[in-house]
Assembly symmetry: C2
């Protein structure tokens, strides 16, 4: 951020009065330009005893496997966003179920929120951002070729809950790639 989006004056970085952190501030019109974490929504689409994964055609992590997921847009619910991303990346229609996991990737300011989902039929294909899309049995999951910590976490949580016949919500904070912080209470 170099210029004020309201008046085109060059931006300063300083701590506004009554605040405690440095902000992007316009000294001309007074606007404070806050920067906030962004939300990524996705799902684990299930068809019978298999789940649907996409191999990424885009950076970062080109060529690695992911569940369908992407940035939440304004004016859609998180479930609508997860279904939209599944349509765009895997050309599949799903019914979104319970909330599965939230991975907060703190160092990139992203919150990855994943849902369980049922595929409405066995139709799918690679969307523009996918090299290929395929159904995997649990024993076939490419664990060593997953794109992000949030993908591993959501799939581990998914199968752990399947074993216990539960549908819990799982939370993980990640400060650096692949180095989760301690769970509940450890970071307060």
């Amino acid at each position: 951020m170099k210029y004020c989006s309201e008046c085109a004056t060059p931006i300063s970085v300083r701590i506004p009065e009554g605040d405690s952190l440095p902000r992007y501030v316009c000294n001309h019109c007074g606007t404070i330009h806050y920067r906030n974490p962004r939300v990524v929504v996705g799902c684990v689409p299930q068809w019978q005893d298999r789940i649907l994964l996409c191999r990424r055609a885009i950076e970062p992590r080109h060529g690695y496997w992911t569940v369908p997921a992407g940035f939440l847009e304004n004016d859609e619910t998180t479930r609508e966003g997860a279904a939209r991303e599944t349509r765009e990346e895997a050309c599949a229609e799903v019914t979104i179920g319970s909330a599965l996991s939230m991975t907060h990737v703190v160092h990139v300011n992203q919150i990855h929120l994943m849902y369980r989902a049922q595929m409405n039929q066995a139709d799918f294909a690679a969307g523009e951002e996918s090299l290929e899309v395929a159904l995997f049995r649990r024993t076939e999951i490419p664990w060593d070729e997953l794109a992000f910590p949030s993908i591993r976490f959501c799939l581990e949580s998914y199968f752990a809950d399947l074993d216990r016949d539960r549908e819990d919500f799982h939370i993980q904070d990640v400060r650096r790639p692949m180095h989760p912080t301690p769970p509940a209470g450890g970071d307060s």
Copy 2:
């Protein structure tokens, strides 16, 4: 948003190539300025058989009661953010517990994520954004003077779970104030 924050050229609104929605686009440097939902984090601070509420000294909903909550900052976890807001608004130190509720207020593009919390001691006071701060027994909650649908939802979820001796995670989508959409599956 009127000017490009990268090059100070006036912004256009159009659908970029390969996209499906109108965006704020700079025709000079090509930057697409995405706008995304923001995350609010908060908690229900508990002390013995009471919970801590704050009466708002700021708009919107000046004079109404809320749990401590505010916008998540970059570079902090959601639990750290909830504890920070409690410190700022109620001058209280808490230990954050399990995730309680997520209310997505779609028409204002805000996701309100609430945690359970324990107060570390019975100390509290009104911060700059609060008129007063007080501990309430369940029977004393000012249900008709709560600031937002997300506050009512998190408190209802909190007490319902207390009755069942559970700590579940509760999700609600709100399209207009006080008119929740149907629960799980109804909006997919």
